[in-house]
Symmetry: C2
Subunit: 227 residues, 2 copies
């Protein structure tokens, strides 16, 4: 039986090296050495380098999802898409892992995100997860358009989000203006996708419950692939 701790040590080593040198430059042998483990052992836990590192990302995503879930529990207002995406943006902007990957490995990113079962998952999620998400929002009056009637909605939404992340990558000093960019995204999302007027507190609470469950399911699915 593989001892529980070793997998975690390997992930820690992989994460540290990934932050320092980037996916391309890190050799599996290095990871093994840093984790005080034979190289073969790594392959007892993950079938390939790509899956190992997407597990690193998955672990980070689990952390972020936990934050989302906590925020939602503390304040159901976070069900509103513009707040959800603003905090998603903030999280990614402040995640060392995400920024390191984006600045150093944007070429290899595709390989990481699409590899393995768990890897793809934390992307925008499989299509049906997105559909489910939008459906919940609409049923509680947090979305202006009926997703079943308007099939271009996911496209419009990802276009807006992609634009926000694209522009966030270009300019010079990140950090201070992250808040401004997050607010900009919030404004766009609210106006382009939410109905006019404030939502009812009752609707927010009801949506929060369903969204929590949705996030939780997603979180557990991701966590299952971790040691």
């Amino acid at each position: 039986m593989v001892e529980r701790d070793k997998g975690r040590r390997i992930l820690d080593a992989a994460e540290a090296l990934l932050l320092r040198a980037g996916y391309r430059k890190v050799a599996v042998a290095e990871v093994a050495e840093r984790a005080h483990v034979g190289k073969g052992t790594v392959y007892l836990y993950w079938p390939s380098k790509a899956e190992l590192f997407s597990a690193v990302l998955a672990r980070d995503s689990v952390r972020q999802l936990d934050e989302h879930i906590a925020a939602l529990a503390a304040d159901p207002t976070h069900s509103r898409p513009h707040l959800t995406f603003a905090s998603l943006f903030r999280q990614v902007a402040h995640s060392p892992l995400a920024t390191a990957l984006y600045t150093r490995d944007h070429d290899a990113l595709g390989e990481l995100l699409t590899t393995g079962e768990g890897g793809v998952a934390f992307l925008a999620g499989k299509t049906d997860t997105t559909a489910h998400y939008l459906d919940v929002l609409y049923r509680h009056g947090l979305l202006a358009d009926d997703p079943t009637t308007d099939p271009t909605l996911p496209y419009r939404l990802s276009s807006v989000v992609a634009g926000a992340f694209l522009l966030a990558g270009l300019p010079g000093a990140a950090g201070a203006d992250v808040e401004l960019k997050a607010d900009a995204l919030a404004t766009t999302v609210r106006r382009a996708f939410e109905p006019a007027g404030e939502p009812k507190a009752r609707a927010l609470r009801a949506a929060a419950v369903e969204l929590s469950a949705l996030y939780q399911r997603w979180r557990d699915e991701l966590a299952r692939s971790l040691p």
Copy 2:
């Protein structure tokens, strides 16, 4: 005195070769030969290869601006931002030059767009041109926010537009679904940046006049760098 015709012949040659082979693969000597001109002559008209080819792009932009101006004259409704950006999107999607550049030279694109005086111009335009544009829209009630009060407006707008173009580049078959994507962009822009309700016909006409002048000035500035 350089004869008027030669510059045009060089641009024609450059455009044709650019469409066939892409920026990287086209040699200045080829362009010169195709234009029946010595290589040195090319450098009497443009100081570098990059500026020569950004002149090709500038000429194309002039054509597109002319279309915009004509559309605006025919129907002042085109003053509304969502229609403006939708047809911008359509134009770019259908421009052989733009698509060839984007699919074959997206790495060298930066060099082209930022090189020279004329090169940068047809980008999102210098900051003050954008500011002027937004100001005109706001004064005629075609914009929900006051650009002088809300300085993040240009950022929000370019983020949305950037997202639309980014997603448009990825998928498989271009062509048929261009209309859908243009409509998606239109919807987002209208909701995120225009006031609720229909604008008055009088306001549209007034805005169209000012926008025409703005476009015209921009067009002439671009055209000035051409032979």
